[in-house]
Symmetry: C2
Subunit: 341 residues, 2 copies
């Protein structure tokens, strides 16, 4: 069982519910493409009238509801003659996810039976051959634990770090993805579809220069400033490795091919910004990042340090804008559509 | 959509988690009988290796976990050769139930895939023919809403009330149970089993003298005392009808037969006290009642009145003991086992 740091629950100012719009825009960027890929790939003639859909790493909503609706529409378009199709949707996330908030925001007019499944998607979650379409968006970048045994001085991430650090991250990622694929191979029906949307690293740029790394670097600088002010031990920073990884396409492909149970229907880098109008609002982006990642920082550094760290990085918003803008203009979102053989 | 008043969530002093031991003992009293009945009745040859079990009105645990374990053992005993059986357990309760607490207390060593399903069991919860064994214990006594259009002066329940009040309750109960049965008839597979444990009223005693009525009468007295003290409007008490009903066997049978989709494998009154050692601890029983029913009182009377009402009834614990003891020595627990035809 790995470490688990769910998105910020509830619906307060800092909650994920109120701070996940950029994630929505990034999903919207591939919405139509996912729909078409599901229609094109799905090959599991409905044995009964029941279609089970799973969203893995769903968080507390509302993004998961848009995602699920899109998948349902795809299946309905694929099997239009099956008028009696009944959908059962499984919302999965870690045990500590705020499922009460998820349930309270379920769309009242939904045309499916909703269920929540707690647990790590690095292991089994469902009975064998019980899922028709599984989906995971912006969740697989989370490693099951911090990469171990590397000295990462003055940094909290592989971004800008030495090759040994990058390798430790990459190894952990491949191990985790391999567990994920094994579990899904058992759960997804023959001909069923698995859709993955993850931050990816384009082949052209060094893995340690990934644009989201800009943010993590600034978080690292902020922590180092706090260390210089005596607020936090530098040693504590060296020992912390933010368990988030953005693979290159080749890495994902290798793990999927080693698993051997899925055919790759689509694998491409897309631009998560294609639906964003105007420049990125960095202050808002920082709030989004906080909603998603506060937990993992708090567990290691404590709440008070985390408050100060986010205050520091907010002061740097202006300075960061340029790097963020140029980083986000690249195609850094990996869309993968797989079919269970 | 009816009114919903979930059990007290969290794990504080007044929580259902910490105040549901009598419910556990009542369940334990029929545990073996349920197991045998499931083994005897289950007639749905596993089409796949997946067995879906649902606990309807599961609350926050821990009782639901014992229940589910018992059902799993029954199915394993019924189908011992199916070594690859995989269990998926659906924990259902109202949307407002504290599912976070439920998930956090899931047995770590469980041999099933857990899922939570929010929503009223008076409507559909699952896809057609998707459940092998459904179970509901101490939940169906809750009406979907307060019986309407009756004047119930100085009382909060049909216990001791006039026949028009009793009839209004009975009508609402039959309507609710009928909706429940229709939904289950669609969801449970042919040959699947539905187990119901509910407070029942033995034929011998007047429905308005049901032993749990003793408790409700004392709650009514306590509220009337508060009315005399000017703490609460008497009118407000007259307008409140606690939406809880304990049917006689004939009523349940009629609704089940009208539904027509189930055969009655077992229907009998049992003694919920058979596993209780020594006299009932009335103070504890009051705490249990509070954990289960605080919500419905608070919604109508407000928190402050509810605190005072439970303080008053606690003062009467000694006085109540005799009535409670004699009431609870009767067979007031209805066990019903049905098979989907």
């Amino acid at each position: 069982m790995g470490e688990t740091f769910p998105m910020k629950g509830g619906d307060s100012e800092y909650s994920y519910t109120k701070n996940s719009n950029y994630q929505k825009l990034a999903s919207d960027a591939v919405k139509d493409e996912i729909k078409e890929a599901v229609i094109g790939s799905l090959d599991a003639e409905p044995r009964s009238t029941k279609v089970a859909i799973a969203d893995l790493g769903c968080s507390v909503g509302p993004n998961t509801f848009f995602t699920v609706q899109n998948l349902i529409e795809a299946v309905q378009k694929k099997w239009p003659s099956e008028t009696l199709l009944e959908f059962q949707v499984f919302f999965n996330d870690h045990l500590g996810n705020d499922f009460n908030t998820l349930f309270s925001s379920l769309p009242p007019e939904r045309q499916y039976h909703a269920a929540a499944v707690p647990g790590s998607f690095h292991g089994r979650l469902f009975p064998r051959s019980s899922i028709t379409v599984a989906h995971s968006s912006y969740a697989l970048q989370w490693l099951s634990k911090q990469p171990q045994g590397v000295h990462n001085e003055g940094r909290i991430h592989y971004s800008g770090a030495g090759t040994d650090v990058v390798k430790a991250y990459s190894d952990q990622y491949e191990k985790d993805l391999s567990c994920f694929m094994s579990a899904r191979a058992e759960e997804i029906v023959k001909g069923g579809v698995l859709v993955l949307v993850v931050p990816g690293t384009p082949d052209g740029i060094s893995q340690s220069d990934h644009p989201v790394g800009v943010m993590f670097n600034y978080l690292g600088y902020s922590l180092m400033e706090l260390a210089n002010e005596g607020v936090v031990d530098k040693d504590k920073i060296d020992k912390f490795n933010l368990p988030i990884y953005a693979p290159v396409m080749g890495e994902m492909k290798r793990v999927i091919e080693n698993n051997g149970c899925f055919s790759i229907e689509k694998m491409e880098l897309t631009d998560p910004r294609s639906k964003v109008d105007g420049p990125i609002d960095v202050a808002k982006l920082i709030m989004h990042m906080r909603a998603g990642m506060e937990g993992v920082f708090s567990a290691h550094f404590g709440d008070s340090v985390v408050d100060k760290m986010f205050a520091k990085i907010s002061d740097k918003a202006q300075e960061m804008s340029h790097f963020i803008e140029s980083g986000y203009s690249k195609s850094t979102q990996l869309l993968v559509v797989l079919k269970r053989k």
